[in-house]
């Protein structure tokens, strides 16, 4: 029993991504159609050439009809996927496996979320009937528990911790300002981030990701067919998913300084892709910065920094656009926005642009220094009770 992966067996040949933001003028159907047609056009594939499709959404639609209706797909196999904030990534993962299995030649993986039609600020999730004993804490409150835990374990004083978290938000806004598709396209001064209104624990509004609408999509074929469509395909090196046992909140051994789900899925992904030193080999990473402390902890769980050292690397600029390992060069959830079902595919879209040197003003330099792999990561749930997804993609066959 082992995770063998499908390294270099499938490739992305086209992608599309809408602007993320408050799309009062566009519905789920509009956004799904925009992203999907952009992806198909970019691949040079007609929609009727799609053999199968996957549509990821947390709550903006049900069933494959969410995709087949706006595209008028004719009696094709379409599956709706849901896996919390890893929804878009899991749509992609299932699509890749279907191609790798030989079942289909050309497939579409899409993701969409419409959050701004609910009338509420923040994320709302429809949950199954319950006994009323589940936690009612907000997501920022649950993630805020990371901050004092990390401070205590590694001896980082609260002021220094605030500086670290502020710098993460500042960096992602800096990157987002260079991204025409991002929800927030302005740099934000560190002072404004640091004194933003308090939401939960030490977290302010500016430590939280954007609530937005959006959609993204990818067209996937077998690797050997990729060059029939494009000169610059993106090969899938690794797809890893880890659903934790969900018992962190009741486990007395859990200390809120790490996500075991992330560590496990990263290890699996690196093994699939043949990566032995991620901090030295990965050219860029799109990670799930739902809240600033999440990104901090992820740097360690993904192996980009030693345990207890990520905060220093953040302050040193290691993960800046110009750093040795740019993290969230497109602005991340923080500045690009976080339409749940679209987010995982949006991350792949940035890999698509960056690794193909099409990212314009925010083109990263790390690939000129010999780094060739892009990594995407999602975390769905909350500390101790989550799923984690990691993918690795690259422009060259191994």
């Amino acid at each position: 029993m082992a995770s063998h992966g499908i390294r270099d067996r499938v490739a992305i040949i086209g992608m599309g991504c809408t602007e993320f933001g408050e799309h009062w003028d566009r519905g789920v159907d509009d956004m799904v159609a925009n992203a999907s047609y952009d992806a198909l056009d970019s691949a040079g594939v007609a929609k009727d050439d799609i053999d199968a499709a996957w549509i990821g959404t947390l709550g903006s639609g049900a069933s494959g009809l969410t995709l087949s209706r706006p595209l008028q797909l004719q009696y094709k196999p379409v599956t709706r996927v849901e896996n919390y904030c890893a929804t878009g990534s899991d749509s992609f993962r299932n699509a890749c496996y279907a191609v790798a299995s030989g079942a289909y030649d050309v497939v579409l993986a899409a993701g969409v979320e419409k959050l701004k039609d609910t009338g509420f600020s923040g994320l709302t999730v429809a949950l199954p009937a319950s006994d009323g004993t589940n936690t009612t804490l907000s997501a920022p409150a649950l993630f805020s528990l990371l901050v004092p835990a990390y401070s205590k374990r590694y001896g980082v004083d609260p002021d220094q911790m605030k500086e670290v978290l502020t710098r993460i938000a500042w960096k992602n806004h800096h990157n987002g300002a260079l991204n025409p598709r991002a929800q927030f396209r302005r740099e934000v001064p560190k002072e404004a981030i640091a004194c933003s209104p308090n939401i939960a624990g030490p977290l302010g509004v500016m430590d939280c990701s954007g609530v937005s609408d959006g959609s993204a999509a990818a067209v996937i074929v077998r690797a050997e067919d990729a060059h029939r469509y494009t000169d610059k395909p993106l090969y899938v090196k690794a797809l890893a998913l880890a659903a934790g046992p969900g018992t962190g909140p009741m486990n007395q051994d859990y200390d809120y300084t790490t996500f075991e789900e992330v560590t496990r899925s990263a290890q699996d992904a690196y093994q699939q892709a043949g990566v032995t030193d991620p901090a030295a080999e990965i050219a860029m990473a799109e990670v799930h910065d739902c809240f600033t402390p999440t990104e901090l902890v992820l740097m360690e769980d993904l192996g980009f920094a030693e345990r207890g050292m990520a905060w220093k690397e953040v302050l040193a600029g290691t993960f800046d656009l110009e750093g040795t390992l740019p993290v969230n060069p497109d602005g991340g959830l923080k500045a690009f926005g976080h339409p749940i079902g679209a987010t995982g595919l949006r991350m792949l879209f940035e890999c698509w642009l960056q690794l193909r040197r099409e990212a314009g003003d925010r083109q990263i330099g790390s690939i000129d220094r010999g780094r060739k792999l892009g990594l995407t990561h999602n975390l769905g749930g909350s500390p101790g009770d989550c799923v984690s997804f990691v993918s690795i993609v690259g422009t060259e066959l191994s």
Binding site: T118, G119, F120, S121, G122, T124, L127, A129, S130, D131, G132, T133, T135, T136, L137, S138, P140, A141, S144, L145, P148, A149, N198, I199, A200, G201, P245, T247, P249, M250, N251, Q252, Y256
Partner: protein, 467 residues
């Protein structure tokens, strides 16, 4: 005849300063404080807290629970069944509501004292009135519980006399938040004769003179009549009432509990209650009371750990001030079938321990998180187990009638961890390592009326001296 085997009271820590009412409304509102049930308490949860004290003091399980309140959370279904579930009582233990009027608690108490078997008699009220009304100013929120049955009691009945008189002094239409009163002098005139008659009968049948009675207390919602009769009898001033106000249905029991706290063996205690006539209940403290007493007196604890509740907050909690809601969805009502399947967890805070390695799970799982052992877990009641705060946060976003919510991760003594809300505390009242205990609360009442009951942590209250 049955005797009082144990008793306990619960007074919520919230205190409304009457001067705050006066300042806010620009009218005289008197001095002192009244007790205020928190936004996550109702008459049922108050009753649970009082009953837990009574049952902790004496290890006798009742064969029935009887609950009296004029402010029930539900009609057409028994609120005592919730109390029964929260106390993790045997299914063979009956549960009944005695509702409607404050006099119901005296009826429940005297019925239990004259009956067979062992009864847990609980009374609770949350007193409301229109802003600035005498009822709002003089009311209070509290609960009291008596365990009554055969065997060596702490106090036994000497005599009881009841006189019933039909005159309409006070009334409340179901569903309304306040009652109405006829002209005050009518009530005062109407209460005097039945009160005198009941007291005379009780003393006569006991062959006791007023001078032989150590403590006399007078209960009743008609403040002037109560005051006049108390004065004529030379009643004992109540230190608890000074803090609490008049908790309606719970008042006769609360005054009795306060009297028992300081009674010596052989002391006679007369409890007079004015309600649609009058009741006079004469009790005698037994030698067992003094030897069993190991708890601090209510009169002392009532002043400890109190929290000031500003008048606008009080009005908000009681639904008298319709505030702008948070821009978040209303909380989803709990599903009755799911609640029924998980009732031991939800209502009694019964966790599960792995039958193979003993690891505690809150709540029980199908498979052990530690050793992977599958199958049913051993029930572990943790409602009375204290714990320590491992970490905490302050949540200003999540829905609450009283933001912000304080979330704590608690490690229980003997094992087990749970992430929960810390109630009866502000953001500055919590630190890692703090000791907490569990308390039964109403998280919210959903838009369909279902009350979502579950347990929260609170800072430890005065821990009783054991033995």
């Amino acid at each position: 005849m049955a005797a009082i085997l144990s008793y306990g009271a619960y007074i919520p820590p919230g205190r409304l300063d009457r001067a705050d009412i006066g300042t806010t409304l620009g009218q005289p509102a008197g001095r002192g404080t009244r007790s205020v049930a928190s936004h996550d308490e109702d008459s049922t949860t108050l009753a649970v807290e009082a009953a837990r004290v009574a049952l902790r003091r004496r290890d006798v399980r009742p064969d029935r629970v009887v609950f009296s309140t004029a402010t029930p959370t539900y009609l057409d279904r028994t609120n005592a069944a919730v109390i029964h579930a929260a106390l993790d009582l045997d299914p063979a233990t009956a549960a009944y509501d005695f509702g409607g009027a404050p006099r119901s608690s005296v009826g429940a108490l005297t019925t239990a004292l004259s009956g067979d078997g062992t009864a847990l008699v609980v009374a609770a009220d949350i007193r409301t009135g229109l802003p600035g009304s005498a009822d709002e100013i003089s009311g209070g929120d509290a609960a009291v519980a008596f365990l009554i049955g055969p065997g060596e009691g702490l106090a036994e009945v000497v005599s009881h006399a009841a006189v019933t008189a039909e005159f309409l002094d006070r009334w409340r239409v179901p569903g309304q938040t306040h009652s109405r009163q006829w002209e005050e002098r009518f009530g005062q005139a109407s209460y005097l004769p039945p009160a005198q008659q009941a007291i005379e009968q009780a003393l006569k049948s006991a062959g006791v003179a007023r001078e032989e009675i150590a403590t006399v207390v007078v209960a009743g919602l008609h403040e002037r009549a109560r005051g006049a009769i108390a004065k004529s009898l030379g009643a004992t001033a109540s230190a608890v009432s000074e803090q609490v106000g008049n908790p309606g249905t719970a008042q006769p029991g609360l005054l009795l509990a306060e009297a028992l706290d300081s009674a010596k063996a052989g002391d006679l205690i007369l409890v007079v209650t004015l309600a649609e006539g009058a009741d006079a209940l004469l009790l005698r403290a037994t030698p067992a009371l003094e030897s069993a007493r190991s708890w601090p007196a209510l009169a002392e604890t009532v002043t400890q750990g109190t929290r000031s509740v500003p008048y606008p907050t009080f009005l908000t909690w009681r639904g008298m001030l319709n505030r702008e809601p948070p821009r978040r969805p209303d909380p989803e009502p709990p599903s009755p079938p799911v609640s029924a399947r998980h009732s031991a967890w939800k209502f009694a805070f019964v966790a599960g321990a792995c039958t193979s390695c003993g690891t505690r799970h809150l709540p029980a799982l199908q498979t052990c998180m530690s050793c992977g052992h599958p199958g049913d877990m051993e029930p572990v009641p943790l409602a009375d187990t204290p714990g320590s705060v491992v970490t905490y946060t302050v949540d200003r976003l999540t829905y609450s009638l009283s933001p912000p919510v304080i979330a704590v991760v608690v490690d229980f003594d003997g094992g087990g961890r749970f992430q929960t809300e810390l109630t009866d505390a502000g953001p500055d009242d919590v630190a890692i390592g703090d000791r907490v205990e569990m308390t039964f609360r109403r998280f919210f009442q959903a838009s369909n009326g279902i009350a979502n009951y579950f347990w929260k942590a609170r800072p430890v209250t005065t821990e009783e001296v054991s033995g």
